[in-house]
């Protein structure tokens, strides 16, 4: 009997590819979770490990196998039969074996030989790629109220560099965050580190010692997320403005599809309808825009970090090169000067000490003509 093809609409929560290996169609995160929980038994997604004997007994009972058959089956399927080397031989897993037959091994050996002959420098990005993940994966689960409840949804979110950056705009994520389904969007917003938040506005050549009393993050608090035609605005503080209203009104005036608005602090991830693998937008500071991609949505597993307090969890951070002082090339630059008669280039970067030595006398008076701005380096979050 020919089955009728069920076309899942956006409400069913079963994600399907919109474009294969690129992104999915939109689906509701909460419904996705419910679909999975409906299909699994509670033991399947709990964090406790079942007892092996109980499992075998249940299996034998269900299939109607006798004890002998069960024992035979167990020994036939045991992983000991997969061992490729004699039991007492201790093999190091770090070396490629000699005379490899598998294509993967041949290629790996070739790559190793090439790498050793060319003396390629270690790539710091790859080296530290899993550093953060190693810290948290497999942590013993917490007990008590801090523990993530079973059946909770985990989202992996990639945040990319701001659109104004020349490099790595859409390829390398600036950071990867893990969020639970019950987190609100404001928690995601707070977890995103962008150096434009730390920028200080203002010219400080005359008063270099005055600590700036505000940073941009405190000054410009408005931000929004854009998911599937809805702008989620941050309205927690009285200074926050709705910066998405301009876009919404422009769209209305220009025959674009209608966009709607909602509050960031009231929306949790389980309420969202999103596409996995599709780029969305996060805008803060009025003009600093980041692309956000949700790369995966899944149920929690016992090897994940189960401590609620650690989420949002950072699993990957891009390590940017830091700009060093133009004079000493040792310290990271803190000052940015323009129209500087002492500087070799315009604009020029200085660390704190070199800046003061060069531009101010022993009493702290300004020497010469220049404009100085406090500079926050991109690598501040490394």
């Amino acid at each position: 009997m020919a089955e009728s093809k069920q076309t899942p609409d956006a409400n069913t929560g079963i994600p399907e590819y919109e474009y294969i290996d690129v992104n999915t169609k939109p689906f509701h995160v909460g419904s996705f979770r419910d679909e999975w929980l409906a299909r699994l038994r509670p033991e399947d997604f709990s964090f406790q490990q079942e007892d092996e004997e109980t499992f075998e007994a249940n299996f034998a009972a269900e299939m109607g196998l006798g004890a002998d058959t069960m024992a035979e089956l167990k020994s036939a399927c045991s992983i000991d039969s997969l061992r490729c080397h004699p039991e007492d031989e201790q093999l190091s897993m770090d070396d490629v074996p000699s005379n490899p037959r598998l294509k993967t091994l041949i290629q790996r050996k070739r790559k190793q030989e090439r790498a050793s002959s060319h003396n390629i420098h270690k790539n710091r990005h790859d080296f530290y790629a899993d550093e953060l993940e190693r810290l948290t994966i497999g942590r013993p689960p917490e007990m008590g109220a801090d523990r993530i409840p079973k059946g909770e949804v985990l989202l992996t979110i990639n945040i990319y560099h701001p659109a104004v950056y020349e490099k790595f705009n859409f390829t390398r994520p600036c950071m990867t965050l893990l969020m639970t389904g019950s987190h609100t969007l404001t928690e995601l917003r707070d977890a995103i580190c962008c150096i434009s938040d730390l920028q200080v506005c203002g010219e400080f050549s005359k008063t270099p010692d005055v600590a700036p009393d505000f940073i941009s993050k405190d000054h410009f608090k408005s931000a929004f997320f854009f998911f599937e035609g809805v702008f989620y605005n941050d309205m927690r503080f009285p200074e926050c403005q709705d910066i998405s209203i301009t876009t919404v009104e422009w769209a209305k005036a220009h025959n674009f599809p209608q966009y709607s608005q909602a509050k960031m602090e009231d929306t949790r991830f389980v309420d969202l309808k999103v596409k996995v693998g599709f780029p969305y937008l996060y805008c803060h500071q009025g003009e600093c825009e980041h692309i956000i991609i949700i790369t995966d949505v899944r149920l929690f597993h016992k090897t994940d970090c189960l401590d609620k307090n650690l989420y949002p969890l950072l699993t990957h951070k891009h390590r940017s090169l830091t700009q060093k002082c133009a004079v000493c090339h040792v310290f990271i630059a803190r000052w940015y000067t323009t129209n500087d008669q002492f500087a070799p280039s315009d604009p020029c970067l200085f660390c704190d000490q070199c800046f003061r030595i060069l531009h101010y006398d022993t009493e702290g008076n300004k020497l010469g003509q220049f404009f100085a701005f406090p500079y926050t380096d991109r690598g501040a979050f490394n």
Binding site: C77, S92, T104, R298, T303
Partner: protein
């Protein structure tokens, strides 16, 4: 990491091809092949910080063989492969297998097929993986990052692994044919009774259906089935002796199939879980050798380079020179000296 994806896929396919040749779905057979190929060495030599990513890649590659459109035997092989890779991986704690929500139904269907055919080792292994929480229940099998600019080589699924198309046989079942013949008789009778009362009975506009539709349909399906069977070369001994060690399972399954087929003389379609058993194993080498020779005749298309070369029909020295790099230094040397250099290189 992308380069190794191709090689990992090639290695998995090599393993599964050998498994397919054995015409068996037993785990011991799979383990033999695994040991022979020393497949757990695939994890050796991975740099520490790449271990997890590599294990993820390997498990993902193996996962696609567990799902349709591959044949039942290949899917069982894929399951065994996942099981073996999961337990021999070097990442600690272990990297999980990503199981997508859309594939859950297929997995359940597979499990039910295996239970019906009494392939206990496959069911046990699947349940064991669930018990050990080897699966992560995700939205999609891979992490999606909206990579449209990457050149996607459309992964060509190996034809030998794909399930033989059986929809025509399943659709046109005996029950359906019987019903259709009943309806068509009823229609004919009604038409005849109505026509006899009309003034112009001979009008051809009343002939709206095909005559003998039912027999034509069943004949066509039978033809299709026979053509399929001829295409896959195998020994037509399906009703002969059975392998003693598989007695119970195969007897029961064959019995079911024969009952269904004997009833209405339709194309005997074996259960999906039995279809890999083309040749009855008498555990002789001649049978398996014969099968290997007939085997799968895969049409290999020559590379564009080779085809161009053959088409242009270059000869002798010109062909040799065109195949190698141009040596600019030879432009300035004497003919005799350059010939010497070329000769040295050729030897």
């Amino acid at each position: 990491m992308d380069a190794s994806h191709k090689h990992v896929k090639a290695d998995c396919e090599a393993l599964l091809a050998r498994f397919q040749q054995t015409q068996s779905v037993r785990f011991e057979v799979f383990a033999n092949i695994w040991r022979e190929m020393k497949f757990s060495q695939i994890f050796r030599g991975v740099v520490k910080h790449e271990k997890r990513a590599f294990c993820h890649l390997v498990l993902n590659t193996a996962y696609c063989y567990f799902l349709p459109p591959f044949s039942f035997q290949i899917r069982v092989g894929g399951l065994y492969l996942l099981y073996s890779l999961y337990y021999t991986q070097t990442a600690s704690p272990s990297e999980q297998i990503h199981l997508a929500l859309k594939d859950w139904e297929e997995v359940k269907k597979f499990e039910n097929n295996a239970i019906d055919a009494q392939h206990m080792d496959a069911v046990y292994i699947l349940r064991h993986l669930m018990f050990c929480k080897a699966f992560r229940f995700t939205a999609m099998p891979t992490l999606l990052c909206f990579q449209t600019n990457k050149v996607k080589e459309r992964s060509v699924l190996r034809e030998e692994f794909i399930e033989r198309a059986s929809r025509p046989q399943e659709l046109i079942s005996s029950g359906l044919l019987e019903e259709m013949s009943n309806v068509s008789d009823l229609y004919e009778n009604m038409k005849a009774s109505v026509l006899s009362q009309m003034t112009t009975p001979g009008d051809s506009s009343f002939n709206l259906i095909r005559k003998d539709l039912v027999s034509q349909l069943s004949g066509t399906v039978q033809e299709f089935y026979n053509w399929q069977r001829e295409k896959e070369t195998f020994d037509e001994n399906e009703n002969s002796q059975e392998d003693t060690s598989q007695k119970v399972c195969s007897n029961r399954a064959e019995l079911l199939a024969s009952i269904k087929s004997k009833a209405f003389g339709e194309a005997p379609e074996t259960l999906k879980s039995r279809r890999h058993r083309r040749v009855e194993m008498n555990s002789t080498t001649e049978a398996s050798a014969a099968l290997l020779n007939q085997g799968y005749t895969r049409i290999l298309k020559q590379s564009l380079r080779k085809r161009t070369r053959d088409a242009l029909l270059l000869s002798g020295d010109v062909q040799m020179e065109s195949a190698s790099h141009t040596r600019i230094s030879l432009l300035a040397t004497l003919d005799s000296a350059s010939k010497k250099i070329l000769k040295e290189e050729r030897s």
